[in-house]
Amino acid sequence: MDKVYEDLVFGDNGLMGSQCSNCKEYFFPKVKSCSNCASVEIENKNFGTTGRLWSWTTQNISPKAPYFLHENKENFEIYGVGFIEMPCGIKVKSRLQVSDTKFKINQKMELKTSILEKPDGDTLPIFEFRVGKE
């Protein structure tokens, strides 16, 4: 398991990011300094597990390397990409689980974590959002 990735992204219960202690702006993933006020006083912030879809698209062709989630173009599966507006107001970029129905801006989204296998046999924890129940 990729510990760095895990530390950067998952908390005990939700997506982990940063909040500036000085100007209170939020960041994802975690940052070392604030790009708004330049403060280096940064706290961890748990953004939670649900949010609203702020914008979305689909990735219909395979990205080039270093993308590896589908080993070759033949087994590529379309995935969604979106910004999820979390309760505190930050919009977080995430993969979206594609379903039969089209995404709708403002619909409720839920965090889902899973483990994926890298081409070298190593595993990578991954997060995505899927459409939630209103």
């Binding site: 990011g17 979305w56 990205p63 390397a65 990409v81 910004f83 970029k93 801006i105």
Partner: protein, 382 residues
């Protein structure tokens, strides 16, 4: 303040040029620009150049002549050409040289660019999990914009249709064939709502401009196009730009809006005074959104503007008369200079079949690049 003048322009046709390196195409453009200005390479006192995939721009001096001039390589993503011109114009303003050249060229592989997370201070998992694809950014920004401002899918198609129509009138364009509406609307989906024919593609080409001061132009008795303003901005906190992994609670104006505002202020000219425009059209949504960000309409007004044909060559505000990035493709180093080349042709009345009627007097260019860079120019014919 004394204005900077463009006295020479040169371009190598965009597209695919087998057998010619990116650098060869830059050298070709530089020689054309020198010929246009009636100058020799040895007259150039300083140069700024950029290329992403074709080596160091300075290597062009091997072919142009090793005159020992200061030559600065620069790179600001797709805005590289705009930044070269910005730097060259400021070199003239400072008095660093009598004649300056801004040059750019490139020769890219097929397919979308593969940006480096590391080079952009972004954790590697972002690109490894498929979240660092430039085309996604355009689609995400556009999807929200269409929702907020009621822009229709039909309007997206019309922007692409115009690009290919204009490209068909431009002998230097890559895509010289008209692509019918239906073919655009039914082309392969890449990133919803954006389809294949709505994007520009990485390509090849070269462009060069020669600058001098207004005083020098008067002395030479040369013809010139004048830079009323040249401004460049990088992203400021809270704006929505390419590669962003999160967006702030309160979203702020883009690098484009900030650069445009600064340019109009320093020129003392307003958007209503502009007769012909070049707007970064990395894809159709970029042209639509950038029209408002640059101040040419309110957000949402694009729907009517485009539907009523106002952005066509025959319209009130002709946009991307040479076919833009969509019909020319994008050799990164040269693209921003190609925009200025086209405006110079239009202001000089030399744009051939795509010439805007009634002698346009004032033109505008806007280029946008990763990770949130914008350069704009306001140009006048006299």
């Amino acid at each position: 303040m004394e204005r900077v003048a463009i006295i020479g322009i040169g371009l190598h046709p965009f597209g695919r040029s087998p057998g010619f390196s990116g650098l060869d195409q830059g050298v070709f453009a530089a020689r054309k620009a020198l010929e246009d200005a009636e100058l020799e390479w040895s007259d150039i006192g300083i140069a700024f150049g950029g290329s992403r995939s074709s080596g160091h721009a300075m290597a062009a001096t091997n072919q142009l002549g090793l005159t020992g001039l200061p030559f600065i390589n620069l790179y600001t993503g797709c805005a590289t050409g705009g930044s070269s011109l910005f730097a060259a114009a400021n070199a003239i303003k400072s008095g660093a040289a009598k004649y300056a050249m801004a040059i750019g060229f490139d020769k890219h592989e097929r397919g979308a660019f593969s940006p480096s997370a590391k080079n952009n201070d972004i954790p590697p998992w972002v690109s490894e999990t498929g979240l660092m694809v430039t085309t996604q950014f355009f689609a995400l920004k556009l999807q929200r914009y269409m929702h907020d401002y009621n822009i229709s899918h039909d309007t997206l198609v019309k922007v692409a249709e115009k690009a290919f129509q204009n490209g068909s009138l431009n002998p230097n364009a890559w895509r010289k064939n008209i692509v019918p509406y239906k073919e655009i609307a039914e082309s392969k989906m890449i990133n919803d709502p954006l389809r294949k024919y709505m994007f520009c593609s990485p390509a090849e080409g070269g462009a060069a401009l020669i600058l001098t001061s207004e005083t020098e132009v008067r002395k030479m008795g040369a013809k010139a196009v004048f830079l009323e303003a040249t401004e460049m901005r990088t992203k400021s906190y809270g704006s929505f730009e390419v590669y962003d992994t999160c967006l702030a609670v309160n979203i702020k104006p883009t690098a484009t809006s900030n650069a445009a505002k600064a340019a109009f202020e320093s020129a003392g000219i307003g958007p209503d005074d502009i007769d012909v425009l070049q707007i970064q059209d990395t894809e159709v949504g970029a042209e639509i959104m950038h029209l408002a960000e640059n101040g040419f309409c309110e957000h949402g007004e694009q729907e009517n503007l485009i539907q009523s044909g106002e952005t066509l060559i025959s319209g009130r505000i002709p946009v991307n008369t040479d076919g833009g990035c969509i019909a020319n493709g994008e050799p990164i180093g040269a693209s921003g200079l190609r925009q200025v080349y086209e405006i110079c042709l239009q202001l000089r009345g030399q744009a051939g079949l795509r010439q805007v009627l009634n002698s346009p007097k004032v033109g505008y260019t806007h280029v946008y690049g990763s990770p949130g860079v914008s350069a704009v120019n306001i140009l006048s014919a006299s």
